[in-house]
Amino acid sequence: MIRFEHVTKTYAKADKPALSDVSIDVAKGEFVFLVGQSGSGKSTFLRLVLREEKATSGTIHVAGKDLGTLSNWKVPELRKQVGTVFQDFRLLPNKTVFENVAFALHVLGHTKKEIAREVPEIVELVGLAEKLDRRPGELSGGEQQRVAIARAYVSRPAILIADEPTGNLDPGTSIGIMKLLDRINREGTTVVMATHDSSIVDQMRKRVIELESGHVIRDQVRGVYGYTG
């Protein structure tokens, strides 16, 4: 689903590469934690997957597309297949829960009828059926993140990218979010989650890829956050 082959990314004004000779293969339906300190290259990895940046060298395949040769006008096609969730939720404050989720479908050209059917369904999945007409300001952080996940998932993307989705949430709320991501993963969506949250990584026991200074220093099936011994 996501395949990096000897990918190096050096930003224009940097002297050191942000990612250096990284090879990673994430299969369809996998759940992968991406861990590492700030500046280790996690964000660069995610930006490359979304093609917000292009690799300096190496090849990247995402959802069957070679991102090195993908033309700019086809980038939207890629992003339709990759849902994204962020630490800061990125909801539209003037729109209700329904409208925020519907926004994604509107943008993708769905009809009103489809939207009226799909949005409540997905909002129910994330557990906010009672709050369809609330605005983000009236919701807790955890609830806002659920809305963001609903928005990312409503178009049923093949891949869900989550960049520190629990970074702003307390531990109890975080567990709820993780259960939701796990559920989405079990429906067949590949999930890549960058995180600092060691307790979550340790509890979930999923594949862990650790980056340090742009290198992959660990790739473990059923891993934990750090080496225990």
């Binding site: 992003r79 339709k80 509107h106 990312a152």
Partner: protein, 300 residues
Amino acid sequence: MRAGFVMSEVGIGLRRNLTMTFAVVITVAISLSLLGIGLLSNSQVRTMKDYWYDKIEVSIFLCGPLSETPSCAGGPVTAEQRLEIQQDLQELPVVQTVYYESQSEAYQRFQERFKDSAIAQNVTVDQLPESFRVKLKDPTEFAVVESAFSGRPGVDVVQDQRAILEKFFSLLNVLRDGALVIGLASVLTAALLISNTLRIAAYNRRRETTVMKLVGASSFSIQLPFLLEGLFAAIVGWGISTGILSGLKYVVDERIAPLLTFTNFFTWNDVWVASAYLLLTGVVVSGFASVLTLRKYLKV
């Protein structure tokens, strides 16, 4: 994206930025009006040319006792010379009509024109020259007549009334060009304002555009609402400017035309033609300003 959704986003954008929208509409209205005034002054100059060129004549003054030009060295024009000149004139293809004005007719006309002036009392019939008044099919063909008759025995002077009007028209041309330049400059200003406004609008709605990018909207569908906002402002501005030009036409017809009877004025048709050009200008300029700005600030 569906049209209804795009329109609702456009509506939100315009309302959220109401004062800026208002500023853009007014600026577009004023600049298009100025440009329209330039276009109408062009029509006006053309109308005046048509009006006046239709009335002007070439005068061939014949030698009289007071003439001093070399071609009059043989004394006042003779009857044969006069007849020959008249026949030759009538044979010229560029000539439409020829009218002979005798000394006594010239005297009557002079008395008529200057009846309130002391000069009328001091002029006698034999002081005024007799002449042929020639109307040309095309008033610009004066040179043909002049080369045929200037310096011919019996002909004192060939005078083109157009030469007098030309000075007047070259003045009007300068005014017209000035109006067009001011119009174009203000259209440029409007374009820059549209560009800046869209930049602010893009910044204000960066949350929306980020989300649109993330869920896979194309550049075009992200830019479309902004483009339509620019276009909307341009079209409303154009509507106002057409109103202003119609108002101008009304004032000219009702207030100015009765006072200035020596010319015709631009027609309603000229107003509509100018308005069509303004619509084209408004749409093209706002479209260009929008696309250039958005390409810079709303990259996917």
